[in-house]
């Protein structure tokens, strides 16, 4: 998965709230068999996120887990929404997390959005996509 990147926000019931895959510009669609692997790895890393978040004052937890060539970085919001990113290269991931967190807070202010519910907003998606391009793929 050279250069590609998978981002997931996880709610309180370990349910994915928002998922997105980032692929480098040249690469077409990712293969299907990778898509579920992403989920598996991110989900498995949650155990370590749960542990690490009590050891640090920071929201950004750096790399918490590693599976073969995938590194899992995590970010825990104040509302205990876990953001996990899967990547083999880790540049700019902290900024990405911070920006997405900003975005998420704004989104969560919407009184019609129920915390933990999957985010189905094209605007949100577009913005995350943009942030991903800005911080991760560039």
């Amino acid at each position: 998965m050279s250069g590609s990147f998978y981002f997931v926000m996880v709610g309180h019931q370990d349910n994915p709230v928002f998922e997105m895959e980032f692929l480098p510009a040249g690469k077409p669609e990712s293969k299907d068999d990778h898509r579920h692997l992403n989920q598996f790895i991110a989900h498995a890393a949650l155990d370590l996120v749960d542990e690490n978040m009590w050891l640090s004052n920071n929201m950004y937890l750096k790399t918490v887990d590693k599976f073969n060539e995938w590194f899992v970085s995590a970010f825990v919001t104040a509302g205990h929404i876990l953001c996990t990113a899967l990547d083999s290269s880790l540049y700019g991931i902290k900024n990405f997390f911070n920006d997405v967190y900003d975005l998420y807070i704004k989104f969560a202010m919407n009184p019609f959005y129920e915390i933990n519910a999957p985010i189905r907003s094209t605007a949100f998606e577009r913005k995350v996509q943009f942030l991903g391009k800005k911080h991760l793929l560039s």
């Binding site: 994915p16 579920h36 598996f40 989900h43 949650l46 073969n68």
Partner: protein, 1445 residues
């Protein structure tokens, strides 16, 4: 780590035991064979020592050896260098061991709760894929508290055991090298001693010739122990004893033993039950024979102490540097299930094999008595304590001495010399691999290995402390030599011995193990799988380097163990567990272990399920489905695939297509040819609550010219308000049909049932009338679906009242496809093809035609499901499965009681359970020439046709409408003779007319209101005979009148009819019709009335007194419709007491034409009617007076004019009181009751109650044709002086009312002066001019007559005062010059309607113009007190001119 039977300590101890080889002479072999065992096997059950042994360490400390076990094996030589990679046979064996060891079904479940996850182990895998969460939650508490754990992964233990036994010996370790050799010779041998010698030589040859690399020997001078085996059954005990004595002489009594066995003849005493301790070792020994190398070397087991339990982590370094052939990989992921099914039998066969192996073995130890058992036990003890342990002790001592002697040189110097000379050890690199990754290799007898040997020896005799220090030293040496493989081995063992040290003086050296693993992995690259779990405080991090080159099976097993490690941690890591289970499952499936793979996936599924990780879930479900299918659990496969399809899938369309095809394939194989019990299909989704049920035929909307009643159709959306409106209309109709009483059981007819209708009762359907069920299907997939042969499933219970029929009371159903003759009960319509696009929601309308009476319940739908053929693939899709889906409709959520609100409860919904009733009449209604647009007030004639299309006669035809004033069927007797058929009625006036020249005088007619009025909004439809026979139809004229308000009006008709038969289940039927009429503006009529002041001589014939009626008519048509002009044809009046008398317009404008925005004023005089004959009901008689302006007189009292008049005058009232006209009469009664009240008297006096009907004709050009439209407008003049208009003023927007915080002071009760002043009408009669010669006579007296007429219906007291009262200066100025002479005050009483004349005299002094209107008249009703006396103001001046003659 899963629960194991053995503790870690035990496991490690049992894994590293002194190895003893056995060499047997042939005779001895024969003796043991009698027991169906070889010698090694014979000893095996007794290899664990029950008593404690002692050993002295080099420092002469006595060391206790507890619970020692030795391992006895036959020497099996193999000439080739050992291949660390398993041979195919070994692999197969291990595979079999694992696959034969499966979790027991129905075993006690083992539940682990971690966070909000509950995990269940050793449960049957079916349950993993179905929602059973809550089910085992209950059992959770009891199970988790019980401490009775069995091994959760027995297959792992079996594997481990077998693995350890089949492991080849390794070069760098000595733990499983042979320490001693038993030389066994039978006493029956002719010269046993010779045999011993031979065996001894044999052993020496094996060990030292170099021909064999296997087995490996620990020390050059292996302990040889001579055993004389004596068969008691063959006698010769003396001789044996003698030989033994000889042996003692020769080998020392510590080096030999006489073992007496077989004291029992094999044939005798079969019935005696002997314990068979061999059986549990049996299949192990079987395998032993198959495996070439029976030496165990190089196993590393290390224990890691968790806080909550031991955890074994196992690594298996294999020394095979030649590469690892991947020969055993079975085709693990076959491309499609078609291939999978072929593999199945093979797999089954494989699974059986181990069992047959076990079964083949007979009984063992048949010739052994319990005494013999003891002998063997004693022998082992003797051997160990006298032979083996001293031997070990001696060797340790020796090695120690060597080491101590070498210690003279310093370590560094020692190594330095080695480096300089390079001779002490020859760094032998692997010949085949010159650049061996493991660093250098020592020759087997290299001095560097001595310390390691000593360590191993100490380890074997449980002297862990010494072992640890030796390992520790050895590690340092190896590391300094860069012998990485050796160093790693030493490190591991150091860690293990530290772990096993009882007192644990030092903490467990975790880093040792880590380093060892690292070394193995990085330097040696020989790890297959290595798992370690690092423990640092309470936060374990873990890493699992996977270097899988060799065995999928091993990695699978180890991954599974890793998963168990995660779950058994203090803070269980459930998600890690799940992930590793998935990985393990994947490996298992690659290794061909389908059952284990399935189990792993199922267990992992518990974590992923229903959390929204859809891709992961799909993957798991897909694997579960495939594995279940290959394991011939197709039901589970179907469930799993169903999950994939029904879940909210994020897969691509092609993927979904593939899933769908697999599902269909699996499903088809499950169902097979068995079509009787149709299983449930998951696709497409049925939105059950959106199901709509429609009773009756689909409506035809139009038939030629005819326009059918709209009724209800499935295309209409349900509207709560509309339903209430129809219900209300129906209630009126039912009330009308039942003499005004609505039966208690009344329930509005519902033709179309949906989720919002009241579905608590079973609906009533009629036999021979179709039932249409609209089912909403949703295709959740991105691939199209093709349904075919779609039909409804139903159950029918015939009515119990038909005893002649056999089937009565028994349910008939069409669920079984083979059931014949269901069509005679209920005909089921089949939709042959029903295509659904990707993610489409589509409704299917399925029809049933019940033919008999009874109870029907619609159960579900049945259809063939197939993937829709794509455009690209033209191939015919064979994947067509038939299945059903049930329609289960949940009723609305209850919200009545508190309990309902707390819980989620649902009510009944019976819309799919109709009761079929006997045939009922069915009527269809058609409309002919029905307009869509009308002018306000326009009268149009249309026709309506009623058809009875059923086989039952109908009667009681009625109609109710939301706009009863909109139409009329005409009234009996007054209906004009218009042509009944619509065709001949072209351009014919709707009115009944009589030719009559225009005149100003009205013609009158007296009509009883009863002829017209209907009791309520319900109208009876006047059909001939009142009934419609089957098949009959009748046409009736219908007059319509455009609504008074412009705009689009929705007019609803509800036709009511009932069967001529009595006592039917359905009391009546209704038919709805809705029309939309666009009304455009025509004329506006404003009318007012005032009391005429006609001189008395004119109105002598009028009885009471005349009233002037002014009618203003304006054309307000905006004329876009081509309306040219309006002609006012006639003005009629209708009242009970008044009538229009004559037109008093100026003669010039006779014909009243109005073009756009023109206005005309018409003036009429109205007079009181002649008092009606006393006999007739005066109140109900209306006088119609027509004043025609054209050449024809329209008889306004007849249909349709009269009808609409009556409807029009009632409707405002009925509108006001909400449609029921019952209250009007009561209110008028109240008025009568208070007749005495002054204001009412006064009001009555002013009451006019005259209805003006303006009939017009409009000339319209439409399509170059001139049409004449007619119409009528009604104005009701209620009181004098008030202007009324036909246009109701537009509803003005409610004005903002100022919010007031202080209640307003009640308005003072104003004396009803204005009304009272109307009681008496006064008139002055006098000559307009009067000439008087003032010269001759200075006073001029003129007689003036004052006429008083009482307008009210009560006697009135009148006071006339002629005195000038308030001589204000200006009034004096104006008329102060004349004076009334004579009597200046009169007091009179006037009877009702009485006219009285009083003659007055006015006296003038000079010529001039005078206003005579100065008398003041006070009137009061006689009964009232004097307070109410009020002046009757004479408004207008009455001028008189006095001339001077």
């Amino acid at each position: 780590m899963a629960q194991c039977v053995q503790s870690v300590q035990e496991l490690v101890q049992d894994s590293f035991v002194p190895m003893v080889a056995v060499l047997c002479s042939e005779e001895a072999e024969r003796v043991t064979r009698k027991n169906n065992l070889n010698f090694a096997e014979l000893l095996r059950p007794f290899c664990r020592l029950t008593s404690e042994g002692h050993i002295r360490d080099p420092s002469n400390q006595v060391q206790l050896v507890k619970n020692l076990r030795i391992c006895v094996n036959n020497v099996v030589t193999s000439p080739n260098p050992a291949c660390a990679a398993f041979s195919p046979a070994q692999r197969r064996l291990l595979n079999e061991v694992v696959s034969s060891c499966q979790p027991q079904e129905g075993a006690a479940t083992n539940v682990i709760t971690a966070g909000d996850y509950d995990l269940n182990f050793s449960d049957h895998c079916v349950k993993a894929s179905v929602p059973w969460y809550s089910a085992w939650r209950q059992t959770l508490s009891e199970v988790s508290t019980s401490k009775h754990y069995t091994a959760t992964t027995p297959w792992f233990e079996a594997y481990r055991e077998n693995f350890l036994q089949t492991m080849a010996a390794s070069e760098h370790e000595f733990l499983n090298h042979y320490l001693a050799c038993l030389l066994v010779v039978s006493s029956t041998e002719t010269v046993p001693v010779e045999q011993f010698l031979k065996l001894s030589q044999e052993q020496h040859r094996i060990q030292h010739s170099g021909d064999y690399t296997n087995p490996k020997w620990f020390i050059p001078n292996t302990l040889k122990y001579y055993v004389l085996l004596h068969d008691m059954g063959e006698g010769g005990e003396q001789r044996a004893d003698a030989v033994y004595e000889d042996m003692k002489q020769r080998y020392g009594h510590q080096g030999c033993y006489l073992l007496k066995v077989n004291s029992r003849s094999s044939s005798a005493e079969d019935d005696e039950q002997m314990p068979d301790p061999w059986s549990q070792y049996l299949h192990r020994s079987n395998m032993q024979n198959q495996v070439s190398a029976a030496l165990i070397v190089g196993l590393i087991v290390c224990g890691v102490l968790w806080n909550n339990g031991p955890c074994v982590v196992m690594g298996t370094p294999s020394t095979g540097l030649e590469g690892h052939p991947l020969q055993l990989d079975t085709a693990s992921s076959p491309g499609s299930l078609h291939a999978l099914s072929a593999e199945q039998p093979e797999l089954k066969k494989g699974g059986r094999d181990p069992e047959s192996l076990v079964g083949a073995a007979g009984s063992h130890g048949a010739c052994l008595t319990l005494n013999d058992h003891d002998h063997i036990r004693q022998f082992i003890q003797e051997f160990t304590f006298r032979g083996l342990l001293p031997h070990i002790e001696k060797n340790i001592r020796q090695l120690n001495d060597q080491l101590v002697s070498r210690k003279g040189l310093s370590r560094s110097l020692f190594t330095a010399t080695k480096k300089w000379f390079g001779g002490g050890k020859v760094p032998e690199k692997g010949v085949s691999e010159p650049k061996s990754t493991c660093g250098l290799l020592y020759p087997p007898e290299a001095p560097e290995l001595q310390i390691r040997k000593m360590a191993d020896l100490c380890f074997l005799v449980q002297h862990y402390e010494l072992a640890y220090s030796c390992y520790h030293t050895a590690k340092k040496d190896f590391l300094s030599d860069q012998a990485m493989l050796y160093a790693a081995g030493a490190l591991e063992m150091a860690a293990v011995s530290a772990f096993l040290q009882a007192g644990a003086p030092r903490p467990y050296p975790t880093h040792y193990m880590d380093t060892a693993i690292q070394t193995y992995r990085d330097v040696c690259k020989i790890m297959d799988v290595f798992i370690t779990v690092k423990q640092s405080s309470f936060v374990p991090t873990s890493f699992i380097p996977l270097y899988v080159q060799d065995s999928d099976l091993r990695s699978a097993l180890l991954l599974e163990q890793a998963a168990h490690c995660f779950i058994n941690m203090r803070n269980p890591m459930v998600r890690k567990f799940a992930f590793h289970m998935i990985l393990a499952g994947h490996r298992f499936s690659k290794a061909g272990q389908r059952r284990h793979a399935l189990r792993c996936y199922c267990q992992a599924m518990q974590v992923y399920k229903q959390r929204g990780w859809s891709l992961a879930e799909d993957h798991i479900n897909f694997t579960i489905g495939r594995q279940s299918f290959t394991l011939s659990q197709p039901e589970n496969a179907v469930t799993a695939f169903r999950q994939i399809l029904t879940n909210d899938s994020r897969q691509t369309a092609t993927q979904q297509g593939a899933f769908l095809r697999e599902y269909l394939y699996v499903y088809k194989s499950v169902v097979g040819g068995n079509e009787d019990r149709l299983p449930q299909l998951p696709l497409p989704c049925i939105h059950s609550s959106a199901t709509r049920v429609y009773f009756g035929h689909e409506r035809r909307l139009a038939e030629g010219e005819k326009q059918a009643a709209t009724h209800v159709s499935l295309d209409q959306e349900y509207d709560q308000d509309l339903a209430a409106m129809w219900g209300h209309l129906e209630e009126q109709l039912v009330a009308a049909a039942n003499r005004g009483i609505v039966p208690a059981s009344f329930q509005p007819t519902q033709c179309c049932l949906n989720s919002q209708t009241d579905n608590l009762r079973r609906p009533l359907a009629v036999a021979e009338e179709p039932i249409i069920v609209e089912v909403t299907f949703r295709n959740p997939l991105k691939v199209p679906l093709a349904l075919s042969n779609l039909k409804l499933l139903w159950k029918f219970t015939a009515e119990g009242a038909s005893p002649s029929e056999e089937t009565a009371g028994e349910a008939i159903t069409n669920e079984e496809s083979l059931t014949e003759g269901t069509d005679t009960v209920v005909t089921t319509q089949i939709i042959l093809e029903f295509l659904m696009g990707p993610e489409e929601t589509k409704m299917a309308r399925l029809q049933l035609l019940p033919r008999r009476t009874g109870q029907l319940s619609i159960v579900g739908v049945v259809y063939n499901l197939a993937a829709a053929p794509c455009a690209e693939t033209q191939a015919v899709d064979f994947m067509l499965v038939r299945g059903r889906q049930d329609l289960k409709i949940q009723g609305p959520r209850l919200n009545q009681t508190k309990e309902d609100k707390m819980l989620v409860r649902h009510g009944l919904d019976r819309r799919l359970d109709p009761i079929i009733t006997p045939p009922m009449p069915l009527m269809e209604v058609f409309f002919l020439q029905f307009p869509t647009a009308l002018l306000c007030g326009e009268i149009r004639k249309a026709y309506v046709e009623f058809c009875n299309v059923s086989a039952v006669a109908l009667c009681g035809l009625r109609v109710a409408s939301t706009h009863p004033d909109f139409f009329t069927f005409g009234s009996q007797g007054t209906t004009p003779l218009t042509p009944v058929s619509p065709t001949s009625a072209e351009n014919c006036s709707a009115y009944k007319t009589v030719t009559r020249p225009p005149g100003s005088v009205a013609s009158e007619m007296l009509v009883s209101a009863g002829d017209f009025s209907q009791p309520s909004g319900v109208m009876d439809i006047p059909i001939d005979g009142g009934t419609l026979l089957p098949g009959e139809s009748t046409q009736l004229p219908l007059w319509l009148r455009g609504p008074d308000h412009e705009g689009v009006h929705e007019i609803n008709f509800l036709f009511y009819y009932q069967s001529t038969e009595k006592g039917t289940q359905i009391s009546h039927r209704v038919l709805r019709h809705t029309v939309f009429i666009c009304a455009s503006r025509s004329l506006s009529v404003q009318a007012s009335a005032c009391r005429s002041s006609v001189p008395p001589h004119h109105r002598l014939d009028d009885g009471g007194g005349g009233t002037l009626v002014f009618v203003d008519v304006e054309n307000i048509n905006t004329s876009e419709g081509g309306v040219r002009e309006f002609h006012i044809v006639q003005v009629s009046s209708s009242s009970q007491r008044w009538r229009l008398h004559r037109r008093i317009n100026p003669a010039s404008d006779r014909d009243c034409k109005l073009t756009s925005r023109e206005r005309a004023k018409l003036c009429f005089r109205a007079t009181r009617c002649r008092p009606p004959p006393a006999a007739s009901d005066a109140a109900e008689k209306y006088t119609f007076a027509d004043v025609n302006l054209g050449n024809e007189r329209i008889i306004s009292s007849s249909t349709p004019c009269g009808d609409f008049f009556f409807r029009g005058c009632r409707s405002p009232e009925s509108h006001r009181v909400g449609g029921t006209a019952s209250r009007t009469s009561s209110s008028s009664r109240i008025q009568e009751g208070r007749a005495a009240d002054i204001s009412s008297i006064v009001k009555k006096c002013n009451e006019l109650d005259l209805h003006i009907i303006v009939i017009w004709k409009a000339y319209v050009v439409e399509d170059n044709k001139q049409l004449i439209l007619e119409g009528q407008l009604h104005v009701a003049l209620q009181t004098l002086g008030k202007e009324v208009t036909s246009l109701t003023p537009k509803e003005e927007a409610q004005e903002m009312v100022l919010l007031k915080f202080k209640p307003e002071a009640p308005a003072p009760v104003a004396p009803p002066s204005a009304e009272l002043s109307q009681l008496i009408k006064t008139n002055l009669h006098y000559p307009e001019t009067h000439s008087h010669p003032f010269v001759q006579e200075s006073l001029c007296v003129v007689p003036v007559t004052l006429t008083l007429s009482n307008c009210s219906s009560a006697p009135v007291d009148v006071l006339i005062d002629l005195r000038h009262k308030s001589p204000s200066p200006e009034s004096v100025e104006v008329h102060g010059s004349f004076t009334w002479v004579g009597r200046t005050q009169y007091k009179l009483q006037l009877e009702p309607q009485q006219v009285l004349c009083v003659t007055l005299r006015a006296c003038f002094l000079q010529a001039g113009v005078y206003n005579l209107n100065t008398p003041r008249v006070f009137a009061k009703p006689t009964q009232q007190a004097a307070v109410c006396e009020t002046s009757q103001q004479a408004a207008s001046p009455a001028l008189i001119i006095i001339n001077n003659a």
